[in-house]
Symmetry: C2
Subunit: 660 residues, 2 copies
């Protein structure tokens, strides 16, 4: 054990294990999580060479191997609880992705929810036995977020009772679905349904892609890998071009909409139920943002405690880099953010389960709010976490660029969350739509409830109106007071966005153009709303914590989180008259004090995340702090070191020397 | 040609070619650049498969091949002007790096400047004929920025008149030098000189690493590749462990310091001259920041003009995504930034050459200012450009993640500039040291000249002191007025940082601790200083431009750049009383107007950067806008598509199906 990191742990003022239980939920959950982790870590079939040393084809191969092994093991151990499966997967995946991911996340759930009785009987056994290996093909080369723009066609032919599937244009080629390129032999394809000369919009169809015996693509199916990406090297995101592929009528998923034998289209009774899945996945992503940032902070903070560099006081030994105020200012607010997002993830998970219960009892009332919240928070947390991972990486100096730090892998495999499951700016604008709608309702005299109740007239009247009438209500040392400041800022920015739309409308532009011409303000308002929610939830979490030591350190973190946000957005707080200039100076000073106060607990706070070395897979983030010898050992395994002399020497350098 | 992009070009209000000449310097320089580019592009020996499809070993191989070919070609064409060589290289390198880069940038220049007469005669011919392939080994596993911390030793043995070179600890292993792993057979090694029982600090030594005949490592030399990184895949950054390696006495570079045959150490007369190289490389990096951002903007803006998505007005066709205000707000300020940095790069290049002239005549007076400026601007521009590349990438939606967009390559190969040649935070603090020193001189009554003259007492007295006495001098429509506002902000933040140090000193902490406890404020002050310099130089550039159309569009860009900076740092401008709240609203409104005003010129403005498709290597950034067909074509070449059925199917999936 590196003596620096031992000393850090000795200086901690709280019980790390207790904080771990809070992060897991309770002591039992911690225990069970550790059991599952040990199952994977001790399993020799999950061991492999560092993926960074492999070619893409080898990485894909390794991922398929692990997925296949996992399926057998989960059955052997009888693990079937979704959260336990998620835990199991996250250990062997490390920072990477699973080859059969979409089979589990999209193919099977879509079958469960959109097949009719007969279809369930046929497809579920095939999919659960992995004879049908499936994916979900929605996005096209030229079409993403806007589903109505999709061009793939399914034209019903009553003569043969088949659908004829086509990709009529280059832009209609299906593009991006995970596992589509090489792994899947089936896909659920979203296509425009044409029957009896009319288009009835998007429907889902099961399209066989490859022979279930030989895995060779079927006639008319042009399928393959879309090529290397920024991350996701082990996933065969694919393309699919359909050329007059005929599928039987009962391959259209018919739980809701139907096409009868003669081609008559039967409308679905309602189309509200897919809403929930989206909300669920976005809630999961918020939790992922917390985890990705927690891993990155673990690596950067442990490394900062063992790395010595430069000098603060001349003549003295090089200090730990964590002693530099600038390093603390980079890392500690991100550590606070990681905690905040973990708690927000817990909250969203709870709300989702509660609301799902309500929905199954026919109560949809909270869904629009949750939908808006999950969209905005997904964008808010993934943007911040992505940028934060890079800050952590760069805080490790040169060694942060080495793949042995794991930080490049964490970044490239997390940052796509900013785009998938709803592009972030689009998400922010969805939340803004809910906020503006709520604002207008409140302005029209309706009493709002829930998280947007701050938009009620009565609340808004309490707000300061200008700098001159500043009431100086904010106490920068009091978290509750800061939560209020965030709330008032959100209210003010929603109001400003609404007024911008109003002003545009007065220029006689259309409602839609007024919206687009105010989009910058709308995104800003959503951002402020999400920030308020995060600060509020962090503060609320403190109320649940009994242990004094843990409560104290988390309170410091929460205060740091709130104050740093204010400093970063000081313009908003000054502009809306919520803070005065002298208060802003207080904020700066208080921030510095909090950094110094957190310094002795930094390593313990990342230890509490409880990532085992086998999961972090980072030489810089090792628990024992013995970084350098393991970097050297790792480097020696680099494929370029397999031979002492690389062949390029004989091919190019020696001939060059001869010619000159 | 895609009709959308043709229409964009038709709508431009200025002569693109004229702007290209301004960016190059003049019409002759544009012509010569294009000639050189054509030489490379038409050369079949520079063609290769997309590097993204190759393994790391293949990429390294391809890079060595190109470097060897380049050396022959440059001789054949008689190209020897450094700027022309730089131009030639940048075409075949694309976004990647050169295998023999450090031989040219560090090995040769160090020989030229630090060899004595005899050494020059021996080593320069060997290096210029590439019989000696060299690199520069400074950084160690445990030591970076702080040179005094380096541990490698060179101990003089008068008995044999040799130096014994050693890596006494794990942390002393040389780590990171480019070309060290496999390519080089020599390295200039920085080591602590020990002779006659005393340590005389760092000296440079030429250490043979590999046999010049067989390329096999010499006895005692443990050398290899440090493994995969975030980018730089084609470069063999290496490690070097020296185990009692003996080199002759005349392998110490002896132009300045010397060790005589008996071991007597002779001090160097002065040690100021290496300063210049550092300044030069940092100036180059500022230019690189402009180029990396210009390339990224070219890709994202062209793609935004051909990509259609979602709807602004219901029922109408999907609009070009560049019509969304949020998309304009992401991209146009970055476009303005790219122009700003290109002009700053030009300026620094000119200043460097002018000052180099002065220095050769013994006038060092401007060097400290230039040193401080180059440090800060290197940090300021590389941070912004790195973040900006990622914004461009994400503005391309899902397709920005594909390696065919080139944006991932641009990012990973540019972002290391934030760390190498001086870690950015350290650079900002170096600039701050100069600013604080200047501030103290001014406070002591000295009259400052040059870029920091705004710190003079007389200037500072003109500043507004508080919000209440706000003079509302800033005209948000007038660039000169905005330059002034940036200047006053910088002055105020330097003053605040100086006062923070003062306050710390009053707490009876040491000078050094006071500095560290104020580091956040110091970085902020440097940042404001650099921002002021960039705005000022952009404004100054406008004065050189005669063409009305070009002047008009560049003025819009400059105004956008200045106003967006104010919006992003509105807290500073409000806090220092430079702007009022109503003015800030004006800024927001004006920004939106400028976005709309730039919209018709956006494509033409990136066309003016004049990157040929062969250099951009981006399917999304194609000049003809025909994106989708070429994405499909690119994807089909993906290595995973070499076989229809990947071997993993037979190895894992078929057996899995059999078992279930």
């Amino acid at each position: 054990m590196n003596p620096d990191i031992t000393r850090e742990r000795e200086n901690a003022t709280f019980d790390v294990e207790k904080l771990t239980h809070i992060l897991d939920g309770d002591i039992e959950k911690t225990k069970r999580r550790r059991e599952i982790e040990s199952l994977v870590i001790s399993d020799p079939d999950f061991q492999s060479e560092d993926l960074n040393f492999l070619s893409r084809s080898e990485r894909y191969d390794a991922a398929v191997k692990k997925s296949a092994h996992m399926i057998l093991k989960l059955r052997e151990y009888g693990i079937s609880d979704p959260e336990e499966i998620y835990c199991y997967k996250s250990v062997f995946r490390r920072h990477h992705h699973e080859a059969l991911g979409l089979h589990f996340v999209m193919f099977l759930p879509t079958l469960y929810t959109q097949c009719n009785e007969q279809q369930l009987k046929k497809w579920v056994p095939l999919a659960e036995s992995f004879k049908a290996l499936g994916t979900y093909a929605q996005t096209e080369l030229g079409h993403g977020t806007h589903l109505r723009g999709l061009e793939t066609t399914a034209t019903y032919d009553p003569a043969t009772q088949e659908f004829v599937m086509n990709s009529p244009t280059i832009t209609s080629i299906k593009w991006w679905p995970g596992g589509l390129g090489k792994t899947s032999n089936h896909a659920i394809v979203l296509a425009q349904l044409h029957t009896q000369g009319k288009c009835h919009g998007l429907q889902a169809f099961i399209v066989p892609l490859r022979s279930m015996n030989t895995h060779i693509p079927l006639p008319g199916v042009v399928v393959g890998d879309i090529g290397p990406k920024f991350g996701f090297d082990e996933v065969d995101n694919g393309y699919l071009k359909l050329e007059n592929v005929r599928i039987p009528r009962d391959h259209m998923l018919m739980k809701y909409a139907k096409v009868e034998a003669d081609g008559t289209y039967v409308k679905p009774p309602s189309a509200k139920l897919t809403y929930g899945t989206m909300v669920f996945i976005r809630s999961m992503i918020v939790g992922e943002a917390g985890r990705a940032l927690a891993k990155s902070c673990t690596i950067a903070i442990r490394y900062s405690s063992v790395r010595h560099q430069s000098e603060i006081r001349p003549g003295e030994p090089e200090p730990q880099i964590m002693d530099y105020q600038t390093q603390q200012y980079k890392l500690f607010p991100l550590l606070a953010t990681a905690y905040a997002y973990k708690f927000v993830g817990q909250y969203m998970n709870q709300v989702y389960h509660r609301i799902t219960g309500d929905i199954s009892q026919g109560d949809f009332s909270e869904l629009p709010e949750l939908h808006a919240l999950s969209a905005g928070l997904k964008a808010f947390t993934t943007w911040t976490a992505s940028a934060g991972i890079e800050v952590c990486r760069m805080a490790c100096g040169g060694h942060g660029y080495s793949r042995c730090s794991a930080l490049p892998d964490i970044y490239v495999n997390f940052v796509p969350t900013c785009t998938y499951e709803g592009e972030n700016t689009v998400m922010m604008l969805q939340t803004a739509r809910f906020l503006i709608k709520s604002y207008r309702q409140a302005s029209a005299g309706h009493q709002l409830s829930g998280i947007v109740s701050y938009l009620n007239e009565s609340e808004r009247r309490l707000q300061p109106q200008s700098v001159s009438s500043r009431p100086t209500v904010v106490n920068v040392n009091d978290l509750a007071s800061l939560v209020d400041a965030y709330k008032l800022r959100a209210a003010k920015l929603v109001e400003m966005a609404a007024k911008s739309i109003q002003q545009e409308l007065q220029k006689r532009v259309s409602q839609e153009d007024a919206w687009n011409n105010s989009a910058i303000d709308l995104v800003r308002a959503s951002d402020a709303h999400c920030h308020y929610v995060v600060v509020k939830l962090f503060a609320a979490k403190l109320g649940e914590i009994g242990d004094t030591g843990v409560h104290s350190v988390l309170s410091t973190l929460a205060l740091l989180y709130a104050l740093q946000g204010i400093q970063q957005h000081s313009g908003d707080f000054l502009q809306t008259g919520l803070l005065s200039v002298p208060q802003l100076s207080q904020v700066s000073q208080r921030l510095k004090d909090l950094l110094a106060q957190l310094r002795p607990n930094a390593v313990a706070l990342v230890d509490a995340f409880d990532y085992r070395d086998e999961m972090l897979n980072s030489v810089l983030g090792r628990y024992d702090g013995n970084v350098y010898e393991h970097m050297f050992e790792w480097a020696r395994r680099s494929p370029l070191n397999k031979t002492e002399v690389h062949e390029s020497y004989h091919k190019y350098l020696k001939p060059l020397q001869a010619k000159l």
